[in-house]
């Protein structure tokens, strides 16, 4: 077996056999599923509770306007004073009392409606009640002004702008959302991967220095090979862990759905439903559209570029992490060198999540998708929105050219740094090492 594969094998096995690595691999998805299930369970519990609201309508305009549903029950009071009603409501342990006084005009009425309750009522409930009152009041005012409310409702025109590129590709706002999700996931995944496994590489370099085995190893293999083997072995361990996470996440959420009947995704679906206020029919249409949009995405382009940017970006940062590990003696000394690495990464994520969302092809987005330290994240988030192929290729070329540069730089520092003990180097000293 040649040296490189020996090193990769050792690095991989030490990582995946490490106890904390194994524990994290199993615990992380468990904790995630656990938290989501708990939240879903609690909100379900909340939803199951039926709240009763008494309505004292002195104006008599809103009789039968409030409709009961699963969570809210309306109890209409009549021939009772406000004080008595308040007492009765509190005594019965009801959620609250809606008091609509008698006023001469709708405008005045709108300002004098009061909701009495033990403490602050839920915003969702108030929203429901206000919506009902508003819609009825509008109708009443229209009729007062001599319009037929039904006619006006029928005359209302719904606008839905169709989006199409010059090249004839149909898109929609939903499609934009979908692109955002794809780009966001890709960019964020890379970001997480770099931070988690970059750190792991750094620690493994430091470990070899502190245990003083490094000189024994470099008398057998070239430092460059050791560096390469370390990066590749750790990355393989990273891919293994990520795959395990995805698998375990699906298994755990499946198991929890099957056993407890709680669906972690139900919560989101419900929220979405209220957000779009879509009826069953519309929902189905939405799904169809989503599938169509999905097919519209440049899947092949996305996958190829994802791989290229992921590998390029990861290796770029991994080599820098290794260089830092070689330059210092212990993990506490890494702080001063971490900032220059983290800054462009965080910047990339910010640019990705704010600027790209606002304007995927604006100047800022374009510039940052060419700078090699931010391009992997930013470009990955832009690609679903359609980036000219020449831009993608130029960006990848810049990235890989820089990668060769940083590996050269990292290897230089690594070669010298691993044999330097005892002192914390300054930036100035590290620059000097490049000339050794």
């Amino acid at each position: 077996m040649n040296h490189l594969s020996l090193i990769i094998k050792r690095e991989y096995l030490t990582k995946v056999r490490n106890k904390s690595f194994i524990i994290m691999t199993f615990l992380s998805p468990l904790i995630m599923v656990g938290i989501f299930s708990l939240v879903a369970y609690l909100s379900q519990l909340n939803n199951d509770k039926v709240r009763t609201i008494s309505v004292l309508d002195e104006s008599g305009l809103f009789v039968h306007q409030f409709e009961d549903d699963n969570n809210l029950k309306f109890n209409t009071l009549t021939d009772i004073s406000l004080e008595e009603a308040k007492k009765a409501t509190e005594l019965n342990g009801e959620y609250g009392l809606l008091f609509i006084p008698k006023k001469t005009s709708i405008d005045e009425l709108a300002k004098s409606i009061t909701f009495y309750s033990e403490d602050s009522p839920s915003l969702v409930v108030m929203g429901d009640i206000e919506r009902t009152i508003r819609s009825k009041s509008n109708t009443l005012k229209l009729e007062e002004a001599g319009f037929n409310a039904q006619q006006i409702s029928d005359l209302r025109v719904d606008i839905e702008t169709k989006l199409e590129t010059f090249a004839g590709e149909k898109t929609s706002k939903l499609g934009s959302g979908l692109k955002l999700i794809f780009g966001g996931i890709a960019g964020y995944l890379l970001f997480m991967f770099i931070i988690i496994y970059g750190n792991m590489i750094m620690r493994s370099v430091i470990e070899e220095k502190t245990s003083r085995i490094i000189e024994v190893i470099v008398s057998s293999v070239k430092p460059m090979k050791l560096l390469l083997g370390k990066i590749l072995g750790t990355s393989l361990a990273g891919v293994t862990q990520f795959t395990a996470w995805v698998l375990l996440l699906s298994i755990f959420s499946f198991a929890i759905t099957a056993i407890f009947g709680i669906d972690p995704s139900a919560m989101q679906a419900e929220q979405m439903q209220t957000a779009v206020e879509a009826s069953g029919n519309e929902m189905e249409g939405l799904m169809m559209e989503a599938i169509l949009e999905f097919q519209n995405l440049p899947i092949l382009n996305l996958v190829i570029m994802f791989l290229l940017f992921f590998i390029g970006g990861y290796l770029l940062y991994a080599s820098l992490y290794a260089a830092i590990g070689a330059a210092v003696d212990s993990e506490t000394d890494t702080q001063q060198f971490m900032l220059p690495i983290l800054l462009p990464l965080i910047l990339a994520v910010y640019v990705g999540f704010f600027t790209v969302i606002e304007d995927p092809h604006g100047t800022v987005s374009q510039v940052f998708s060419f700078i090699p330290f931010t391009s992997p994240v930013v470009m990955l988030m832009r690609i679903p929105f359609g980036v000219p192929i020449w831009q993608q290729i130029v960006s990848v070329l810049i990235l890989f050219a820089t990668f060769i540069g940083t590996v050269w730089f990292a290897a230089k520092i690594y070669r010298v740094g691993i044999l330097m003990y005892g002192k914390k180097p300054s930036y100035k000293e590290i620059i000097k090492w490049l000339k050794y």
Partner: protein, 308 residues
């Protein structure tokens, strides 16, 4: 004699700092070669150059007549001064890994490890982690890993540090045995008594320059000062003492004895003969002790470095 390793005019500087300045050494086959020098003299840099960890700026190194190439690492075993093992890796696994990096096949490495583990009495620790072992035990394993691939050239940098006297002796005997089996040893240490005991050649490096090298015995001859340690029993001590101190260059000395005697170190001129001194002494009393003062490696080390 055949040279296993030849370094010709090797220089290396790090930025402003010159670590090695035009250093040449020749290590004869089958010898134990002491590489000596004060801290920071450049020994480790030279050793790293031989191990191809660092490249020389100028000059070149020949191993068995060939310029150093990457494949030569299989012919060299190196025990660095700054040494250690992976703390959380199992002993056996780790030794196998390091042996395979030196070019041994897995099966062969396993076989030889078994042999060495038995030989140095490290029986059933194959599955223990290094962090569970004592320092001396870890050092033994490190020693085994260094010699396992049966290299032609062995380089030991302070091999005895971390060993108790019993184990240090054990390792010393192993090194001598490896030499007898045909290996050549480069040996860097500050412990002069082991240089005295083991080395047949030495080179002394000070402030990046080689200031002395050759066969230890030749160097000692070169450094001898025609000084003799004598014991003389006489009834007339003060008179004889006055005569001797007047006639020769003398130094006080103190060696163990059963007699009540005069004790001196007497230095005679370079061309003078020892026999003449003995003859003279016999006229003054009973000679109970006569020995040439041979400069120790330590004396030579201190004197040369100081004069440099």
């Amino acid at each position: 004699m055949d040279k296993l390793l030849v370094a010709n005019n090797v220089s290396k500087s790090f930025g402003e700092f010159t670590a090695l300045n035009d250093v040449s050494i020749e290590v004869p086959k089958g010898s134990i070669f002491g590489l000596l020098g004060p801290n920071g003299a450049g020994k480790t840099t030279l050793i790293r150059i031989i191990n191809q960890i660092t490249m020389p700026d100028t000059g070149h190194v020949l191993l068995d007549g060939e310029p150093l190439k990457p494949h030569h690492i299989e012919n060299i075993g190196y025990l660095p001064e700054e040494r250690g093992l992976y703390k959380s890796m199992k002993v056996g696994e780790q030794a196998l890994y390091l042996a395979q990096l030196k070019g041994l096949s897995k099966a062969e490495a396993k076989k030889r490890l078994k042999y060495w583990f038995e030989r140095l009495e490290i029986g059933d620790w194959w599955n223990k982690k290094i962090q569970e072992l004592s320092k001396g035990m870890a050092q033994k394993i490190q020693f085994i890993v260094t010699v396992l691939h049966e290299p032609k050239l062995l380089i030991f940098d302070e091999p005895f540090s971390g060993f108790d006297p019993i184990n240090a002796n054990l390792i010393k005997d192993e090194i001598l045995k490896l030499r007898d089996d045909g290996a050549t040893v480069i040996f860097s240490t500050h412990r002069m008594e082991s240089v005295e005991e083991m080395c047949d050649h030495i080179a002394l490096i000070n402030k990046s320059n080689k200031i002395l090298d050759g066969k230890l015995i030749d160097i000692k001859r070169q450094y001898k000062s025609n000084t003799f340690e004598v014991g003389l029993v006489t009834s007339n001590k003060s008179e004889v003492a006055a005569i001797i101190e007047d006639k020769f260059e003398v130094f006080p000395t103190d060696f163990k004895t059963i007699n009540d005697e005069l004790q001196y170190k007497i230095k005679i001129p370079v061309n003078a003969m020892a026999n003449d001194l003995v003859t003279f002494l016999t006229t003054q009393g009973q000679v109970t002790h006569f020995a040439e003062v041979v400069p120790s490696a330590s004396d030579i080390f201190i004197e040369t470095v100081r004069n440099n």
